[in-house]
């Protein structure tokens, strides 16, 4: 899955605050490291050499010992002061994280599964709500309040260019607030080991201008496009009548499964399988035929259909923009 995923390339205020904190800590820690290594190097350089047979110095020279004691005391005092500075920097960044204005937020309910992300926008508003998976679109400049849940094992939501991570813990609900201040595609990945295919549980956050976001949002709220040719119609029929419908939902058709990503507008997504394959016609067909090849151990079994049936299903899903 392609996208910017660098904590050192912040695209929003959360990640920016953390980037500043990182810089502050890096500078201070590097200085402390350099000074300590310099002290060690000077000590090594200036101390005379001896062999094992040299007798040990038991009588410490008072002046030298006093000088050493002064150095140690200054070292500790300096370290303590710097630690205090970093402590305040940390608290300051912490407060900045919680100070994100939340007016006019986009609300998303994110549920972590093994191994994909289920998203419901505006879940409290039946007129506005819709479901999607693995790819979140957000408007630039508006806060996004995400409620995080998990029903199976612990996952963790992390999009480094936007913010730090938050765990999704079964039995507990947490929230995270992010805001993208720059248009772009930001990649994230599950950051708490959740089993077999934890490595392939990615997601993207696509930050768009408010107009493009509104267009995307209204599109998502509509039911699935009707098939425009016979092949797509055949594809829809197969989807509704075979195993696809047992797990997947496509709003406006008879497919109403809740155990797998919502496919109503799947063609508009860049990737399938939470980042496992790109959403191109060829790869889509291969994914449908045998998802296990790309992501062994996922819940989606191989689909055993004739080649033209497979093409029909793929064509139909490819039409669901």
């Amino acid at each position: 899955m392609n996208g910017i995923h660098d904590a050192l390339a912040p695209a929003g205020p959360q990640a920016l605050a953390l980037f500043h904190l990182w810089n502050a800590m890096l500078v201070v820690c590097t200085v402390v490291f350099a000074l300590t290594m310099a002290a060690l190097a000077i000590a090594l350089w200036r101390a005379p050499r001896a062999t094992e047979r040299a007798s040990a110095d038991l009588d410490a020279q008072p002046r030298k010992e006093a000088a050493l004691r002064r150095s140690v005391v200054w070292g500790i005092a300096g370290s303590s002061v710097l630690l205090l500075v970093l402590l305040f920097a940390s608290f300051y960044a912490d407060r900045a994280l919680s100070a994100l204005p939340l007016a006019d937020a986009v609300h998303i309910d994110l549920v972590g599964h093994r191994f994909w992300w289920e998203a419901h926008y505006e879940p409290h508003d039946p007129e506005q709500t819709f479901a999607t998976a693995n790819e979140l679109h957000v408007p630039v400049g508006r806060p996004v309040l995400i409620r995080l849940r998990a029903d199976d094992v612990i996952h963790s939501f992390w999009v480094p260019s936007l913010s730090g991570k938050k765990d999704l813990i079964p039995g507990r609900e947490s929230t995270i607030a992010v805001r993208a201040d720059r248009v772009g595609t930001y990649r994230g990945q599950c950051a708490e080991f959740c089993g077999y295919q934890h490595a392939q549980m990615a997601l993207v956050v696509v930050a768009e201008t408010p107009e493009r976001y509104e267009r995307w949002r209204s599109l998502q709220r509509e039911p699935a496009h009707a098939p425009s040719d016979a092949q797509q119609a055949r594809g829809r029929e197969l989807v509704e009548q075979t195993s696809c419908a047992m797990c997947h939902a496509i709003v406006g058709t008879r497919a109403g499964g809740r155990r797998a990503p919502d496919l109503t507008h799947v063609a508009g997504r860049g990737w399938l399988g939470a980042g496992a394959v790109a959403n191109t016609p060829k790869l889509r067909a291969e994914w449908i035929a045998n998802a296990q090849k790309f992501k062994p151990g996922v819940d989606m079994p191989p689909i055993d259909v004739a080649a033209d049936d497979l093409a029909a299903i793929s064509a139909y899903l490819g039409s669901l923009e």
């Binding site: 392609n2 660098d6 904590a7 605050a17 953390l18 904190l21 990182w22 800590m25 820690c29 300590t36 290594m37 002290a39 060690l40 000590a43 090594l44 200036r46 101390a47 094992e52 047979r53 040299a54 007798s55 040990a56 110095d57 038991l58 410490a60 050493l68 004691r69 150095s71 140690v72 070292g75 370290s79 630690l83 970093l86 402590l87 940390s90 960044a93 912490d94 900045a96 919680s98 199976d152 612990i154 480094p160 730090g164 991570k165 765990d167 813990i169 079964p170 039995g171 507990r172 947490s174 990649r187 990945q189 599950c190 708490e192 080991f193 089993g195 295919q197 490595a199 980042g275 062994p296």
Partner: protein
């Protein structure tokens, strides 16, 4: 005749030893106190030799053999875990690698972490403590040698069982900390998590047994005159570690047992649907888990404190400050555990407290580092391999410690938690803070243990290659973590851009392998082919273990020493130098008072017996049976009960012999 003791007392009539047989009353009582070569020394050698044959070998409870067994076994497991690490680096060196599948990889990283933490790092430190501490404090064996013997066999069986499980595709696969619900009854399918819980039970039992032994040994068996203020820093480190172990290890054993109950009996400790909490496991585990890393780190600090004075030819600067730092670090380490849980939904104010505590623990460590540098600055330096490894420790550990500060900050941790940044940090602190001092300690005490010194030239090659390899392997991981690479992923796509640095890291790993090879060559050459024997004190060190031959006689000291200084071998000769009057015909030692080390009682060490081995075997039967069957948990208790009964049952012959020497208080 002067009396040395706390209280004056009236002269008491000499009590007759209680004997039962006339024949025994006629045998002369030989007491120790004369040097090597004397009649007493010969008797001591005879008394302390081991029983012959396989049964004898299994019955050994001499701390030196046990310590050596722990260390050798730990390095064996470390080698296996190291191979796993190498495989993981190889797999991740390229994007979309198909070298290893996800299931095997998940078992690999879980086994690597579990083995390194439970089967290598803690046992190797305990092994060193078992070997060195009695020698350093001037006694003949630890306080509970049979318990430590049993601990060794438990350790070996536990490790072998874990690897047996791994070999049969039943290795743990949910990380070295096996979070629930992933390792719980619903998602932890098969027996994998059960074996992990079993391994935890084994290694914690083992750790606790050795910890109680070492604590009692240090508090009660020190040589007369070695008050707490005169005690060497390595002994302090071992004491602090052992006491911490006693307080922290029960937690993980408790937690692992609760997970087992959830898995096998249907309890709901961690099941949120029935009132349990997934986070409860994290609390239990990390309350143990954070002190755990200090079980590994603090003994290593003890190594450094033992080595620097020798190679700076002067006593440690700030001895008392270092003691206080060790104790403070021990205490503070219990207050940090939530910093492993910053990404959960715990209250923010609570988390900030743990940031403050995590920062605070840097101060005693910094104090120790500054005292060490001051010692070096005020000394005359002997640049040999042990000292080189200590210098490497400074560099690598400091980087690890500083990234630790970064991780201790809640907001910053939210970016780098569960990423390769943490992997980099933990390897820097564990390799820098523990493995470098460990190698230093190995080179340092090798002549004492084996009677031969490891080669200097190969040692220097080993050091430099290891130093370069470690930095090359783990430094890039900091950057990878910041670039979004999470932990525990078996592969990644090329579009992530993580490949170049991963490849650099893999090259570093190869250099590490070469350095290990050189170390192995050095070992083999020295042990099997070197002719030169080492003297008692090849490094010119000051502590008591260097006063006996290399390797030490089975009884350690023909006459227990009396000390009045922190570096007894450097101090000018004292008026009273040694203890006499202990039996040379039964295994006797001397207990002293806790704070001032005044002679208190004589103590008869247990003779070698097979029962610790049998007990460990019976516990294995019980634990393995319980993994498969719930009634097995109950019925399986019978073999250990029998074994411990037979262990405890007095041996008439030994009792008769001890009665000859018995004296009432």
């Amino acid at each position: 005749m002067e009396s040395v003791g706390a209280l004056p007392s009236r002269p008491r009539p000499r009590k007759r030893a209680r004997t039962r047989s006339a024949a025994a009353a006629h045998r002369p009582m030989v007491r120790d106190g004369d040097g090597p070569g004397s009649r007493a020394a010969e008797e001591l050698e005879r008394t302390w030799q081991e029983k012959p044959g396989l049964v004898g070998w299994l019955s050994i409870n001499n701390h030196k053999t046990l310590g050596l067994r722990f260390v050798v076994t730990a390095f064996f497991f470390a080698g296996l875990a190291g191979v796993m690490g190498g495989l993981m680096r190889h797999q991740l060196a390229t994007a979309n690698s198909h070298l290893l599948g996800p299931d095997f990889y998940n078992q690999l990283f879980s086994m690597h972490g579990t083995t390194m933490m439970f089967l290598f790092a803690v046992p190797v430190m305990q092994g060193f403590a078992l070997y060195i501490v009695p020698l350093m404090i001037g006694t003949r064996n630890t306080a509970f040698p049979r318990m430590s013997a049993c601990a060794y066999w438990l350790y070996l069986f536990g490790g072998l069982l874990l690897f047996g499980a791994f070999a049969t595709n039943t290795g743990p696969d949910a990380g070295w900390f096996e979070y629930v619900p992933l390792a719980g009854p619903q998602y932890g399918i098969g027996k994998r998590a059960d074996f992990w819980n079993m391994l935890v039970t084994y290694s914690e039992a083992m750790g606790l047994m050795v910890a109680v032994d070492i604590t009692t040994t240090i508090l009660k068996l020190r040589a007369p005159g070695m008050s707490l203020r005169q005690m060497p820093l390595f002994v302090w480190a071992s004491l602090v570690t052992s006491v911490m172990i006693i307080f922290a290890m029960p937690l993980v054993m408790l937690g692992a047992n609760l997970v087992q109950f959830d898995r096998m009996l249907g309890t709901h400790f961690f099941n949120p649907a029935e009132g349990g909490d997934a986070l409860l496991w994290q609390h239990l585990f990390w309350f143990f888990g954070h002190p755990e890393v200090y079980f590994i780190f603090i003994p290593a600090l003890g190594f450094v404190s033992a080595i620097i004075p020798t190679f700076a030819r002067r006593p440690m600067f700030g001895h008392d400050a270092i003691v206080l730092s060790l104790v403070t670090t021990g205490f503070l380490s219990f207050g940090l555990w939530v910093h492993h849980m910053f990404a959960t939904n715990l209250p923010e104010l609570g988390k900030s407290f743990f940031t403050a505590m995590s920062f605070m623990i840097a101060i005693p460590t910094a104090l120790q580092i500054f005292c060490w540098i001051a010692t070096i600055a005020g000394g005359r330096l002997v640049m040999r391999t042990p000292f080189l490894f200590v210098l490497g420790f400074f560099f690598v550990l400091m980087i690890g410690g500083l990234t630790g500060i970064m991780l201790g900050s809640v907001p910053l941790d939210l970016q780098v938690h569960d990423t390769y940044f943490v992997v980099a940090h933990l390897h820097y602190v564990l390799i820098g803070g523990a493995v470098f001092p460990l190698f230093a300690a190995l080179y340092y005490w090798f002549p004492k243990v084996t009677g031969k010194q490891l080669g200097e030239t190969l040692g220097k090659w080993h050091f430099w290659l290891f130093f370069i390899g470690v930095n090359l392997t783990f430094f890039p991981l900091h950057i990878l973590g910041l670039e979004g690479m999470p932990r525990r992923i078996y592969t990644y796509g090329a579009e992530t851009g993580w490949e170049p640095l991963s490849m650099v890291s893999a090259v570093g790993q190869v250099i590490n392998d070469v350095s290990t090879l050189i170390f192995a060559i050095n070992l083999i050459r020295t042990v099997f082919f070197k002719k030169e024997r080492a003297s008692a004190d090849p490094w010119g060190a000051g502590t008591l273990e260097w006063s006996v031959a290399s390797p030490p006689p089975r009884c350690n000291f023909f006459a227990l020493p009396v000390v009045s200084s922190r570096e007894p071998l450097w101090a000018p000769p004292a008026e009273v130098t040694h203890v006499q009057g202990l039996s040379a015909q039964i295994r006797e030692g001397l207990t002293t008072t806790v704070i001032d080390a005044l002679p208190d009682t004589r103590y008869a060490y247990p003779e070698p017996e097979i029962w610790p081995f049998v007990a460990a075997l019976s516990v294995t039967i019980w634990l393995v049976w319980s993994v498969w069957s719930v009634p097995g948990f109950v019925w399986g208790l019978i073999p250990p009960a029998l074994a411990f009964l037979l262990w405890y049952w007095p041996n008439k012959k030994e009792a008769k012999e001890e009665l000859r020497w018995e004296r009432e208080p």
